[in-house]
């Protein structure tokens, strides 16, 4: 398509879904998120006044100056992950629900593909918003329960997104996640996050002794889906770059 004829929104879309940008965002998100969270736990556990412990502390306590001398680490981790996941979300949607623009790109996928990816895109976008909100309104800057609201939005949205993404990659042919990994990650996405989120929600709202560890468990369950899916997306972007170079 002629570049000059595209409006600025289309140009911005093409830019943020280009393999180069996806590679930067993907590696950037992985390094920043895990690097900052890992460092935040070590700093809080060793230098924190009360000794941080995942069995007795919320994840959000990593962003509270009472428990850690470096609360900005968690804020940086979640805000950067929230921002950098947005282009990856666009990329996944672009390649898992391609829209034919020319005769060569026909036939179009089944309508169910657009429905599932539309929903997955929507919930992922809300999840990213939740991540950014949790970072901005951290425990140190919690106004009008916004930290709690964004936390629920974050966990709930990614858990819902997992169902629709899971259905898409398990049951309908696609090019990003190869067999048999599509079945493993897909079925995991459909069956695991929502039941675990319900159990975690029960413990958190009933304030049981397991409330803190359950928050960590739902966090790890979501990471267990998001990371492999986005690693496959990175692999796909790398392949695209390689084929571009060969051309």
């Amino acid at each position: 398509m002629d570049k000059e004829k595209l409006d600025w929104i289309s140009r911005a879309y093409n830019f943020i879904t280009s393999p180069k940008v996806i590679r930067i965002c993907g590696y950037g998100a992985l390094l920043l998120f895990f690097g900052c969270i890992g460092t935040a736990i070590i700093v809080a556990a060793t230098l924190g006044e009360y000794g941080y412990n995942i069995f007795h502390n919320w994840i959000s306590d990593l962003g509270n100056h009472i428990f850690t001398p470096a609360p900005f680490l968690l804020d940086t981790a979640v805000i950067s992950a929230g921002v950098l996941l947005v282009p990856l979300n666009f990329y996944m949607e672009k390649y898992l629900a391609p829209i034919p623009q020319t005769a060569e790109e026909l036939p179009a996928p089944h309508r169910m593909v657009y429905r599932l990816m539309g929903l997955s895109f929507f919930w992922n976008l809300l999840g990213s918003l939740g991540l950014i909100g949790v970072g901005i309104f951290s425990e140190d800057r919690d106004i009008a329960y916004l930290h709690f609201i964004f936390s629920v939005l974050l966990f709930g949205s990614f858990a819902f997104s997992a169902i629709f993404m899971g259905l898409r990659i398990t049951f309908i042919k696609q090019s990003i996640i190869p067999k048999p990994f599509n079945f493993i990650t897909g079925l995991y996405g459909i069956c695991v996050p929502i039941p675990v989120a319900i159990i975690a929600g029960y413990h958190v709202f009933e304030e049981t002794a397991y409330q803190w560890i359950m928050e960590w468990i739902i966090f790890l369950v979501l990471i267990g889906l998001i990371v492999p899916v986005f690693v496959f997306a990175l692999r796909h972007a790398e392949k695209q770059l390689k084929s571009e170079k060969e051309r």
Binding site: Q101, R111, Y114, R115, G118
Partner: protein
């Protein structure tokens, strides 16, 4: 045509049958007449047989309770008919708001946002329709199932589903092809759909001093009807046109 039909799966045949203009005409007129007719007769019967039933002091669900009306089946049937008959209409709306190109002549496709918004709108509409059938099945007289208040769950699902669907379908109306809802009606209807039902739904949660809860519930029903009825009329007009064009 026969060859094409033989290559279609049974799901595609059912989908094509459900979204055929003739089916839409039948469903559209039937839902308007049956739902509005049965609810109106239900209110009249309730007011006359077991007075005083008023929309100020009685919940909509009281129409399905033998404590408040002599003929609770009227409202149950209205809900079941409305829930069932809105399914083909939603499928039709999605099909024509975000058409998927299958042949070269159908290119170029609509913008990706059309697919996203109608996909999400479709999901919430389906939730609304299925839960509305549930409202009829677990009516005021049969509200509980194994200690679970199914009537309340279904009511929340139905009203919430339709209110959220109105937001996304409304947004889709503003950017999609103008054949279904012509300009400027698409903007008027969309602006109402995006704001009206959800605003009244929020007022139901917060309450208004001096206004009864039952009346607010009725207001929500009217707000949703204020979106669905004009939209259904435009859909019927579109289906009529297709029949006259011989499609």
């Amino acid at each position: 045509m026969d060859k094409k039909e033989s290559t279609e799966s049974w799901i595609e045949r059912v989908y094509n049958k459900a979204t055929a203009p003739k089916t839409i005409i039948i469903c559209g007129f039937a839902v308007l007449i049956l739902y509005i007719g049965l609810v109106s007769i239900g209110v009249l019967v309730a007011a006359l047989t077991k007075p005083p039933y008023t929309i100020w002091d009685n919940w909509i669900s009281d129409l399905g309770s033998s404590d408040h009306t002599a003929v609770p089946v009227l409202y149950d049937l209205a809900c079941i008919f409305a829930g069932t008959l809105t399914i083909p209409i939603t499928l039709y709306l999605e099909k024509y708001l975000a058409p998927i190109p299958r042949i070269t002549e159908e290119l170029p496709p609509p913008h990706r946002w059309s697919y996203r918004l109608t996909g999400i709108g479709f999901f919430f509409s389906m939730i609304g329709s299925f839960f509305y059938i549930g409202v009829g099945i677990w009516s005021g007289d049969r509200a509980m199932l194994n200690g679970v208040n199914m009537h309340e769950i279904c009511s929340f699902g139905a009203f919430g589903g339709f209110a959220f669907a109105a937001i996304f379908m409304g947004l889709a109306l503003t950017i999609s092809d103008r054949k279904l809802v012509p300009s400027p009606w698409n903007y008027i209807l969309a602006a109402y759909g995006m704001h009206g039902p959800i605003l009244v739904a929020m007022l139901n949660m917060t309450g208004i001093p001096g206004v009864s809860g039952p009346f607010l519930e009725w207001a929500l029903l009217f707000a949703i009807l204020g979106w669905i009825v004009p939209l259904s009329l435009f859909i019927l007009r579109h289906a009529e046109k297709l029949i006259h064009a011989g499609t």
